[in-house]
């Protein structure tokens, strides 16, 4: 049946083809044609008129589609125009806001009983107060505690608190809050809790401004440890409890404190975007006052350390100071930007290659010494975190570090001599050395490769394995799974060598990421315990020196360096206290104590993007 006859008998059209879509189209076409009459019976002129009509009907875009198209176009044009208009409106800002924008690793844990990594620590230092404040030389000065008494046996500490300290929400800080905070961190046990769970027996609030802490055994560096006890507002936390497993304390405020602050520090939370950034603002009623008029009013912690991002932000003038995780190449590029300087200081962060003393072939002391001698320290220093320097078990910047230690040097002859004395000499092929590095830090690969290349020359086979941090922690739980060598950075928790020595070399820390050596040496254990119990600082430090010398003899580690902490910052309008070596605080986090910073936005040169709170 062809189209012409079919159009005459419209009803008889059932289907032309199997395809229902085709059918529909054909049917409509036929109906159109039929309505207009059969084409061939019309004159030419009428024919063209009909087909034009048909064409016009067919080509009409539906009104709705047209409306949508025009609408979308209008919206885009309107927003473009308004954006340009808006841009012009934005330029006249008020007197520019004093702000410090800082990139940092993410996420952050701002609960004082949970956070202990770099980012969390620097935020806690600014949002909360402690009983004592760390000095540049490693001692402490009175802070919330204006004075204290230590009992004769060294077990009881009684603190007198400053009066009139206000929390961010207006409440006054009393001894109850101190006792609550300590009890809280002891119970929850995360973050810096470990510093107190081993030493503190109990805490009591004797009066509204007197608190007493009793220790389990005499602990010399206890006052130094107190810089990690951040005081929370008991009333505020108790008002915001959520269901949890701590009995009457429910979740102990962990849910609420993860995103809010209950502190009394110089800065308080303004806005926290848990995925991306944190904004803090100045707390006007800070109890110690604001003598420094040029301190920033706002602080923004931007949660990324991607090199491209940091570079872009700095070059657009949207960043005042960067994080300390940037690679050598990126710092060089940042330093070349106009008005950007790279500061370098030491905070006791040491990078070591920990050798597993319980796994072949690193269980042989001569093999370990051979590895220590074949490491090209100068080359590593030249290519990995420039500006660092050699270090022993404790970094030179940490109080209590032995200044007269003889360290291992790069000497291939001595390495070979030691290797010959080891019992694996001649069988090196059967005993490969597994060297683990962190997959998260890009520069560590260089260190691994340098050692691998040198070891190769002596016939030692080194396998470099990149492990994500979690795998490292898992592997270090047992001596069999711990690699022969693992590159790890560590820092003291408080400004004393004892912190690092205890965390790194006592038997208690075996199975944790801080000790890949499995040293388990009873002599070292006893020496460390004895040193920590010594209350007199001078005597304590002497004992630290002895421990460090013994460790060098045992050579359980290749001590690479103490890392320079480097940050790039805008030197034209920011005064960064740690850029001056005399002001460097050995306690991590306190070089980011923003109350001591000075910002002069009027002095800022191009490029500079003002901050809109």
């Amino acid at each position: 049946m062809d189209i012409w006859t079919a159009s005459k008998n419209r009803r008889s059209i059932r289907k032309f083809t199997d395809d229902p879509v085709e059918n529909k189209v054909l049917k409509n076409l036929i109906l159109e044609v039929g309505k207009e009459g059969i084409m061939r019976d019309l004159s030419d002129r009428e024919k063209s008129k009909k087909s034009n009509n048909l064409r016009r009907k067919v080509m009409k875009t539906s009104k709705f589609v047209r409306f949508l198209r025009n609408g979308l176009f209008l919206v885009l044009v309107a927003s473009l125009v308004l954006n340009l208009v808006g841009c012009r409106q934005q330029t006249p800002t008020v007197a520019e806001v004093k702000v410090i924008r800082n990139t940092t690793s993410w996420p952050c844990y701002i609960d004082p009983a949970v956070g202990s990594d770099g980012t969390s620590t620097l935020i806690l230092c600014n949002m909360y107060d402690t009983l004592v404040f760390p000095n540049v030389d490693g001692s402490v000065k009175p802070w919330l505690a204006k004075s204290w008494e230590i009992s004769a046996d060294g077990l009881t500490y009684t603190f007198d608190l400053v009066q009139g300290v206000k929390f961010h929400n207006g409440d006054e800080l009393t001894a109850e809050d101190v006792a609550f905070s300590l009890q809280r961190i002891l119970t929850i046990g995360q973050g810096y809790g470990y510093l107190f769970t081993t030493s503190v027996k109990e805490v009591k609030a004797l009066d509204t401004h007197k608190v007493q802490i009793t220790l389990k055994q005499p602990f010399g560096p206890f006052l130094g440890e107190l810089v990690r006890l951040y005081i929370v507002n008991k009333k505020q936390v108790m008002a915001n409890l959520q269901p949890g497993s701590y009995g009457e304390f429910k979740d102990y405020g962990m849910g609420w404190l993860a995103t809010n602050d209950a502190g009394s520090g110089p800065y308080k939370i303004k806005e926290l975007n848990t995925m991306a950034y944190l904004v803090m603002e100045k707390f006007g009623d800070f109890w110690a006052g604001w003598e420094n008029k040029d301190a920033p009013q706002y602080v923004k912690e931007i949660g990324t350390v991607e090199p491209a991002t940091v570079r872009t932000l700095m070059s657009l003038g949207e960043l005042e100071i960067t994080d300390d995780c940037q690679s050598v190449e990126n710092l060089a590029t940042l330093g070349k930007l106009p008005n950007v300087d790279v500061s370098s200081h030491f905070e006791g962060l040491v990078v070591n290659i920990e050798l597993n003393t319980k796994k072949a072939p690193t269980d042989d002391i001569h093999f370990r010494k051979a590895l220590a001698y074949l490491t090209d320290y100068e080359k590593i220093l030249a290519n990995f975190i420039l500006g660092s320097h050699r270090s022993g078990p404790v970094g030179p910047a940490t109080p209590g570090s032995d200044p007269n230690l003889t360290l291992y040097t790069f000497d291939m002859a001595k390495a070979e001599a030691e290797l010959k004395q080891s019992r694996y000499y001649g069988k090196l092929n059967q005993y490969p050395v597994e060297l683990g590095i962190s997959a998260d830090v890009s520069d560590q690969e260089k260190v691994g490769l340098i050692i691998q290349a040198n070891a190769n020359k002596l016939g030692i086979k080194v396998n470099v394995v990149k492990l994500p941090w979690i795998s490292i922690v898992a592997a270090l739980a047992k001596p069999e799974t711990t690699p022969n060598a693992i590159l790890i950075a560590d820092a003291p928790s408080y400004a004393e060598a004892g912190s690092l020595l205890q965390a790194r070399y006592t038997s208690k820390s075996c199975g944790t990421w801080e000790q890949g050596e499995w040293l388990q040496n009873p002599e070292i254990d006893a020496m460390v315990a004895d040193a920590l119990a010594t209350i007199d600082q001078k005597a304590r430090f002497q004992k630290y020196y002895a421990i460090q010398e013994k460790l060098v003899e045992l050579c359980p580690t290749i001590w690479l360096m103490e890392c320079a902490v480097k940050r790039a910052y805008r030197s034209d309008y920011v005064v960064y206290p740690a850029a001056d070596p005399a002001n460097v605080n050995p306690v991590t986090g306190y070089n980011m104590y923003y109350r001591d910073y000075k910002v002069f936005p009027e002095k800022a040169q191009k490029p500079y993007t003002p901050f809109v709170p």
Binding site: D18, P307, A308, S327, E329, T333, K379, A382, N383, A439, S442, E445, K446, G448, L449, I450, Q452, A453, N456, V462, V464, V465, K466, L467, P468, S471
Partner: protein, 303 residues
Amino acid sequence: MRNSNQPNNSIAISLVRPKSIFWHNLGKNWYKFSRNPLSIIGLVIVLAIIISAIFAPWITPYPEHAGPFVDFKSAGQPPSLQHLCGTDNIGRDIFSRIIFAFRDALIMAVVVLALAVPLGVLLGLIAGQLQSTWIDIVIMRITDVFLGIPSLILALAIAVVLKPNLMNAMIAISITWWPWYTRLVYGMASSVRNEYFVIAADLTGASKFHILFREILPNCLSPVFTKIALDVGWVILIGAALGFLGLGAQPPTPALGQMVSDGANNITFWWMTIFPSIAIVLAVMGFNLMSDGLRDMLETRME
């Protein structure tokens, strides 16, 4: 009307083993393949990659750079006559490393497909043959579950659980890959099953084994081969994606995804990013083009 997925000339093919048909008609097949110039280009690229990967230690200018090697003096040099693709931030020649990286990439593709394809095809055949029995339902449901997980997510989840090395990455990818083949073969097998020649074979007393592997399988194979050629490219891609996140071959072994990730960390050295990326794109493109040509050659249906 016409059931578009029925093979037209299956009756003629089934009586003779397909492999001999292939070589018998080599001239005709080559003509079909070469009609499209793009397929030739694909073939050339693929052959170039395979040959250079096999003979890598002999044809690359700096073969030792693919192993433990550091040379900071010549680090970060832009492309020049000495270093065709420049050097990376440790001083290793990128061109040599790319060619060595292809070795691992091709090995990964071969192993993954060697694991995934037989498993997938076997399951698909069994399910297609025993259609409407509980075995069929169980197999196809499991296949659907695995297809319901986006493959990158599953591969990632498995790879993070295991230690990061080449073998485990291969295992992770194989586990996500087999369902596609099962589904493909299942569809084909269940339609071929109803063809006359299969019924004839059954009636003449052929064993189940014979029917499965001698009658049904040969007719399902051509899309499988096309898919295999295509998949080599995709496996290289997913391997690169896993390598980008740090799961896969470990340093100093070169791997394409890892080289791109290193390039991202050192973005001022643009050659560190661009050249491995071009290598990945070229490899995938080559395999795609070649598989299109294979499809023209093997599949005679017009749908």
